[in-house]
């Protein structure tokens, strides 16, 4: 193990500890403000050290692209997050969560297109494909949630026989997923189709849900993004992503149940109440 390999692994370990301690501290009113700072330190540490990651032995151009992308994404998010009104917070959480889901899906796509995901056995391949699906659904679903809360989608569009269409897309996703996993190379066309289908599924799943139920849905997508991040962590062999993603997946799932319970609704009620009904919950 080289010096930098050790440094990266050790830093990821410290970051994982900081995330868990930070989240734990966020669970109590007295320590909540310190908690987010602990997690923030972990994030900065992991990000900086990743520049020396052994799988990232890229030339100057790649580093330039990385810095440029972090500047665009981070700068844009910083500006919008500082500017938004307090009442607009929930949709911003949805927006940033969707971005995380999209990032997880992007990792899956790169690993599938480049065939890296096909080199480590079937389990890794399945995780890559399922992670792409969950990340894609979370991405488009969160964007719809954001658009609805932001008031950009005041009218809920319902197609006739929406649940039949949804079932059809779900079936298509399962079939394409099996074909990709069974094939030895995963044709880029199939991977692209699979990803588009998961985006469409996320849109159709979120579209009928009314604004009042959105916090529960955002929390659900938050948990799903965490799970997608964990799955892609397995694909990349990245323990920081595995641990942080899984912790968020579990914590987010429980939070979703608690939030639904606080509203006297069940999660399946929230998700499927709008299907096939004209006067479902609307915000």
């Amino acid at each position: 193990m080289s010096f930098w390999e050790f440094t990266v692994d050790a830093s990821y370990f410290i970051a994982a500890v900081l995330f868990i301690v930070g989240l734990k501290r966020m669970g109590s009113p007295k320590t909540a403000k310190a908690g987010i700072k602990w997690a923030g330190i972990g994030m900065v540490l992991a990000t900086v050290v990743t520049l020396w990651h052994p799988d990232l032995d890229a030339g100057f151009f790649r580093y330039l692209l990385i810095f440029l992308a972090i500047g665009i994404g981070g700068g844009g998010a910083w500006y919008t997050a500082k500017k938004v009104q307090m009442t607009g917070m929930p949709q911003m959480v949805a927006l940033y969560n969707g971005m995380g889901g999209g990032a997880a899906a992007a990792i899956a796509l790169v690993e599938l297109y480049s065939h890296s995901a096909f080199m480590h056995g079937t389990t890794v391949l399945i995780l890559a494909v399922v992670g792409a699906l969950i990340g894609g659904v979370s991405f488009s679903g969160s964007l719809i949630a954001w658009a609805k809360l932001e008031g950009k989608m005041s009218k809920t569009i319902r197609l006739p026989a929406q649940h039949l269409i949804n079932a059809g897309i779900a079936l298509l996703i399962v079939l394409l997923g099996i074909v990709i996993i069974a094939s030895s190379d995963g044709a880029p066309v199939l991977v692209t189709l699979f990803f588009i289908a998961s985006l469409v599924f996320g849109v159709f799943l979120t579209n009928p849900i009314g604004g009042a139920d959105m916090p529960v849905v955002i929390s659900l997508y938050n948990a799903l993004t965490g799970l997608a991040v964990a799955f892609e962590g397995f694909v990349l062999g990245n323990p920081a992503m595995i641990i942080a993603g899984t912790v968020v997946g579990a914590a987010g799932s429980l939070l979703t149940l608690l939030m639904a319970k606080a509203m006297n609704r069940s999660v399946s009620n929230v998700l499927f109440a709008g299907f096939g009904v004209d006067d479902g919950a609307q915000g």
Binding site: M26, L56, I66, W78, S114, G121, G249
Partner: protein
């Protein structure tokens, strides 16, 4: 690579940790915690950086580039929003 039962153990223990963290949390902290955990999965940034670093050809590079933009937005936006939420929470409590 982390595979087989070691992977399963890590997954199980991390899931248990996440469950335990939320266990006895007052309802008023649910939304900040959702936002905080939204920030934590911004760690996807490190994976996106690696993906952009080793993607080959135009399309893989472009998707990796978009991935890093999205991941950075998740991490930075998640942090700022959570901090602002907790700020408000504190001042309304005092």
């Amino acid at each position: 690579m982390i595979t087989g039962f070691v992977a399963l153990y890590i997954f199980m223990l991390a899931a248990f940790t996440g469950y335990e963290i939320i266990g006895r949390v007052p309802a008023i902290l649910h939304t900040p915690l959702m936002s905080g955990s939204n920030f934590v999965h911004g760690i996807v940034l490190v994976g996106a950086m690696v993906a952009l670093g080793h993607g080959e050809g135009f399309w893989e590079t472009l998707i990796g580039f978009i991935g890093v933009i999205l991941a950075a937005g998740n991490a930075v936006g998640g942090y700022v929003v959570t901090e602002r939420m907790l700020e408000m929470f504190k001042s309304s409590k005092d």
